[in-house]
Symmetry: C2
Subunit: 361 residues, 2 copies
DNA sequence: CTGAAAGCGCTAACAC
DNA sequence: GTGTTAGCGCTTTCAG
């Protein structure tokens, strides 16, 4: 049986209150007492029971993270960043996958799964502006991503328009003029899905450079998976439209497009320059390495966790919802004619022949 | 204030016990009563407080998953599989990253972070056979991966020797005879790290085919990151050893090697065939697509979660530790001269031109 | 500075 | 079939 606070108190010869005070770093405890309690804790290998603490204090020290799918690199890296940020603040992270389905996202908000968390970090992919009513939940909620604005919740997101504009400008700067785009959204309601925001950034950059917008260069691809990037690029090549660059709305699409270009014998970046968006680890290692816009994922994770914790600890009237845009920057690599500025991490062990006596077969 | 069981009981005009019975699907409740309780629950939007339940029952319904790093594709896919498997059994997953460090792994076992979980799924990377004493933990523990055997815990792992042997045999079957290997471990203690097991599988296959073992073909790379695969391949090419195939101990190394081969103008698979191990999603999308051995990740996740839940619910004397090896199979793709047998998932939306009226500029 | 005691919301004997 | 009640282990007034 695990030791309880009472056991510790008995061994240390104090009351449970004192043990509690020591554990919670209450300052007014005599040093000698504190020491006695500390060694009793060590002797018994005592660990506080978090269920009990949670029951009493109304907090569990766990936050939920709901994302579409961990197997999408972008979300794995986001989850990584969130977990690290949370760890620094001493909270644990319970990960839930919505499967990128509407039902999954609604289920997460209904809170039927994540009930022993103090709050939720939620990256919606299907729910949109029309669903903001669903965001009226009885627990602290911080949204990641850009699918809804003007909702009742805090909101941390990349700068979609700015990032897309920067990507396009990067292509313009290296002299490209016929810039295709992959990843537009099939419908074109005037909503604010990231696809539309990215189209807007693209068009802003074109407009600023005085280049006419050609809808033939804008290709639909959804969801933003590799195979759809590859297919859209095949489409583009088959259509016979002329283009000297492509901006894909995420890196995964870009890697798919790169694959098609390679197979088709199109040279990158000589014939077609490519830039993605997300700056996932993998972009550094494709052939050729792929330029991308870094949307500030670490910053997003850090800020989102802070905001959520702040909301969890908020007393009294809630502050008005806040919306935060992360900083972004272009990571220029081979696919737009640059030498990779961030070579891979040096090997921990420099590769060499296995130092082992040869043993014939 | 959130509703409690007492509120529900009051509204339904029954006692808390009855409410509890309804919630926990206790069979002997009159239908009419059950219905009354159900509607009271709905009316009050009542949700059980899991901290209280956990405190009372000694279980939280949460398991921990400790892996090195989510940003490594293999582990993201593993975590994905574990979360899905756990969801089916109605338990949530708290994810912890050890950072692939010894301290991180020890901290996880010390349980200072994952205390409100009922048990732990742990994929060690640094701890090894010498550390099995650390596995004597006061909570249910199931190990993933192959770093320790004969420990006191259950253990679910891929079949290292078998997978490596299958990979090598695949290369032999397509007529290759000078098969290099990337990913050996720098030290060669007679331990059972997966690198050594994979070397063993490789040598078994060679031996069975009557091909002598040539240590010059066995290259060290650690950790198994892409950059180290690329570097090891550069090394191999620079060394001037002859080889017509390479088996990399994981896919990430293989993708790195593929990159180097591409840059060096070596044709794959004509000059050098390549096969990896792990069958991560990404292998399907490299240029050329990369053959790999699928180590049965979904099965591993499924079995591990089952085993852990079984342990959590175990009463009386614990059953002896079990060790389970997953099934594996070769996924042959372009890098060994096959047409990809599993084309990418069909696009949800077939790519096409954005149907939008052109607006100049 | 420390102790005594109440009670967080739930489950599970045990009554009826 | 349903109600009563005693804690699970912790935090937190309130005294001293």
């Amino acid at each position: 049986m695990a030791a309880t606070m009472h056991d510790v108190a008995r061994v240390a010869g104090v009351s449970v209150k004192t043990v509690s005070n020591v554990i919670n770093d209450y300052p007014y405890v005599r040093d000698a007492t504190r020491e006695r309690v500390r060694s009793a804790i060590a002797a018994l290998d005592y660990r506080p029971n978090l269920s009990a603490r949670g029951l009493r204090s109304g907090k569990t020290g766990v936050i939920g993270l709901a994302i579409p799918e961990l197997r999408q690199n972008y979300f794995a890296e986001l989850a990584d960043a969130v977990i690290r940020a949370a760890e620094r603040r001493n909270v644990a992270v319970l990960v839930d996958q919505t499967g990128a389905t509407r039902e999954g996202e609604i289920a997460v908000l209904a809170g039927h799964r994540l009930r022993l968390t103090d709050g939720l970090l939620f990256s919606p992919e299907q729910l949109g502006q029309d669903d903001i009513a669903l965001l009226q939940v009885p627990f602290p909620l911080v949204l990641l991503g850009e699918r809804m604005f003007d909702g009742p919740t805090d909101h941390v997101t990349m700068h979609n328009v700015g990032s897309a504009r920067a990507a396009t400008e990067h292509l313009l700067e290296i002299g490209r003029r016929r810039i295709a785009v992959i990843g537009a959204h099939p419908t074109h309601q005037d909503d604010i899905r990231s696809a539309n925001l990215r189209v807007r950034g693209y068009r802003e950059a074109l407009a600023a450079a005085g280049i006419p917008y050609d809808p033939a260069l804008v290709r639909v691809a959804a969801p933003w998976h590799r195979e759809n990037g590859a297919a859209a690029m095949r489409d583009l090549l088959a259509a016979g439209v002329e283009f000297d660059a492509v901006f894909t709305f995420n890196d995964t699409l870009g890697l798919g497009a790169l694959r098609t270009l390679g197979q088709a014998g199109v040279r990158v970046p000589e014939d077609v320059a490519v830039i993605g968006l997300d700056n996932i680890d993998e972009a550094r290692f494709s052939v050729p390495s792929m330029s991308s816009v870094d949307p500030g994922r670490d910053q997003i994770a850090e800020v989102a966790v802070d905001l959520l914790i702040e909301r969890i600890n908020e007393k009294g009237d809630p502050a008005p919802p806040r919306q935060i845009l992360a900083d972004f920057r272009v990571a220029a690599r081979e696919s737009t004619g640059f030498v990779d500025p961030e070579p891979g991490i040096a090997s921990a062990v420099s590769p060499s022949v296995l130092a082992e006596p040869a043993e014939g077969s």
